[in-house]
Amino acid sequence: MKRVLGRLGHAIFVLWAVASLTFVMFRLMPGDPTLNFLSESFSEEMRAALLTSFGLDRPLPEQYVLYLGSLLRGDLGVSFLQKKPVLDILLDALPNTVALTVTALVIAYAFGIIAGAFLAFARGSVTEGIAIPAALITRAAPEFWLGMILLAWLSFAWGIFPSSGANEAGSEFTSEWARLTSADFLWHLVLPALTLALYLQGLPLLLMRATMLEVLNDEFIVMARMKGLSRWAIVMRHAARNALLPVATAFALGLGSSFGGNVVIETVFSWPGLGRVLVSAVQGADYPLAQGAFILIAAVLVTMNMVADLLYAWLDPRVSVGARR
């Protein structure tokens, strides 16, 4: 309880700092946000009016206070270009990003954990000699490169998977949930999720293998063998449970970081998610939108960092249950 409160306070502090940093970042940049509106008919007065309508003509401290105030109210402002509330735009994109990230992570971790545990046992074998470099290579390859090759191969050439988007053109659904669970959506999800998973699996695999090897050398595993326990009991009940601790933490951290890291995959697969909102907002100089997307991604990251900490503490009795003497 105390840990949760403390960690929460810490997360709020970090969020505040990130929000302030974002404010500074977006205010102190060179260039003029109104430049995007240049046209033959754009005049000085219009420019001034535009700045006023976004409050950009006020002194910075005042802007900062207003900014923090609206953040607290969950108001991320209005998009320069779309003129819609930023939050609405982000919430539209959010489910797609969540679906992509979670699916990819689950695939990556399920595979990585099993393969990693297997490799821990296959120490020194030929399999290991091939599998580890292979895992490292998937992690070393640029995601977009891998994605484009997969796309060219599985979609353009063989026509198996759709080339872009999250749904068939013009498909109708009764609810967002119905959309996310439709066969159509899942079919569109396969390729991006697979690419992302391919990139992500290296970490759990290597981590699982390393911690497993470490745990297998631990005295309590030696003891378990001395006790004559079955191999299954040793591996599952003792080794895996201990080895999974850091992997579970990595999962939570990965959830946070791939949220922001999806930018590239979303662009390759024209996946209508947060990352693409961010990129197109940045490219189009839609600062309120870019700022909002950035803050939302950061908020998820901070939250997941917190969850990772709490998860670790919760899973590991050494942390969660204080020592008593």
Binding site: G31, S41, S53, L151, S155, F156
Partner: protein, 559 residues
Amino acid sequence: MNRRSVLLAATALTALPRLPALAQGAPGDPIRPLVLLTRPQAAAPAAYQAAELIAQEWRKLGLQVELRPLPNQQMSQVVWYERQRWDFTMWQMVGRPERGDPDEMVYNLLHSANIATGYNFVGYSNPDYDRLAEAQRSEMDQARRAAIVREVQEVVNRDQPYAFLVHPVNLQAFNKQVFAEGSAVNQAGLGIRNFWNWISLQPTGRQRDIIVNSTEPVKATNPFYVSGAPDSWVTDLVWDRLMRVGPDGLPQPWAAERVTQVDPLTIDCVIRQGMTHHDGTPVTTEDVVFSYEVPGMGDESPMYKPFVQNIASVTATDARTVRFVLKRPDAAFRIAVLAKLNIVSKRIWAPVVQDYLNRPQNLESFVEERPVGSGPYRFVRSRVNEEVVLEANPNHWARPKADRWIMRIILNTEATLGALRRGEINVLADYFGDPDLVKTMARQLPNMIAVREEVDIGFQFVGMNLRRPPFNDAAFRRALSAAVNREMMAGAAWNGQAVPANSMVSPALAAWHDRGIEGRVPGGNLEGARRLLQEAGYRMVGNRLHYPSGVRETTTPYQ
């Protein structure tokens, strides 16, 4: 007439007013290193490649040319707000339906009234030009006006304030298994990405949706605000206008049954009978009047405000007639105003306008849950980076043949082609990729892919800053222009999807384009360029081009 002789003729025709008569003697100062601004390769690959090619050629003239790629934002900042600072820049004018009338290109771009803050950022000031630009505005006679516009192009050709590069050629394709090939309509300067095509495409099978791609997201669906090209494609379909630019590039009556020019300052529009908004209410003259009043109220619609500035009054003279009275004659009024402004429902918008007049924001921030227009398509939904869905308006007099019009946002050019091949889209309308690939696909799938090509209204050019020597010297500009090989550029930078340009009026606008100019497109003539410079007094010393005798370099290089 070959190019060289053209150049010589051009040289002979023009005087060299600002140069010493005697081009002999010791050379002047060496010309400072010049910086050519361009958008980065990633943002504008063709323009970047063109800039590289141009720079390569100009260096051969003894100039030190540095390429400076700048992101959109920063480039606009420099070119637009720091007009004294830069030397020359890659720039483009994009084709839009309303640019089917030459007024915008002629008046706004190069009239000296726009030098300080307007679009004449190159700082071109020529009283002769100004006179012609003004004259074409108020000339109501089509033939006479066309003659003036052609004259304008001659002046531009002589002065070369821009080094025109190319008019892009739009390459589009559609799936003829889905739509009857003959039902596709081409619009001058736009190709099949046009209003007429969207209502004409005739589905032949079970797929009755038009699915068209876009490389950028739709940002706003608002009759008083468009933020980018895709926005305008959507508003075009959802809201009707009094007139529309026809496939031939000329305005034709639309919501107005008849448009009559009562006198040079008065225009009457008789609206069609029985028109309804998507919510079922009738379209009235009151709606029309309201639609033309709103942009003039405060700064509620900065985008459309300039278009109503010339309207002295707009009134409903009877139940079906709306009368426009102008402040001064405007030849482009039909195309630039009547075919541009959207007709909205006063019932819906009047309270909104009232509300927004008291707010710091303007109407641009108003988001209709489900926009209501009166056009041939009704708005269904829009997801920013995903798609926009419209459905056919069965009550429209020009009811579309297709059931729905869906625009898919696909950023990835490769994926766009993949989507066309897989049938995820059936009209390829927004394509800047490699044309060979589309043509190859059409060859491989002759029963499926139909390709259309159309010269664009827009053009690509190098804007030279006439405020900064040596660009103030027309001879120098002509020489630079002469050194550029536009054919090569069209091939190597625009993948062959472009035609050389020497005018701001595209050949697509047959009525206005000065055909004579085509034969005088300078290009690829390094020798000619060198001679022009030589004659104007510029001298090569070593590898470096120097000003004519007595001219000092006083301009600081771009930083």
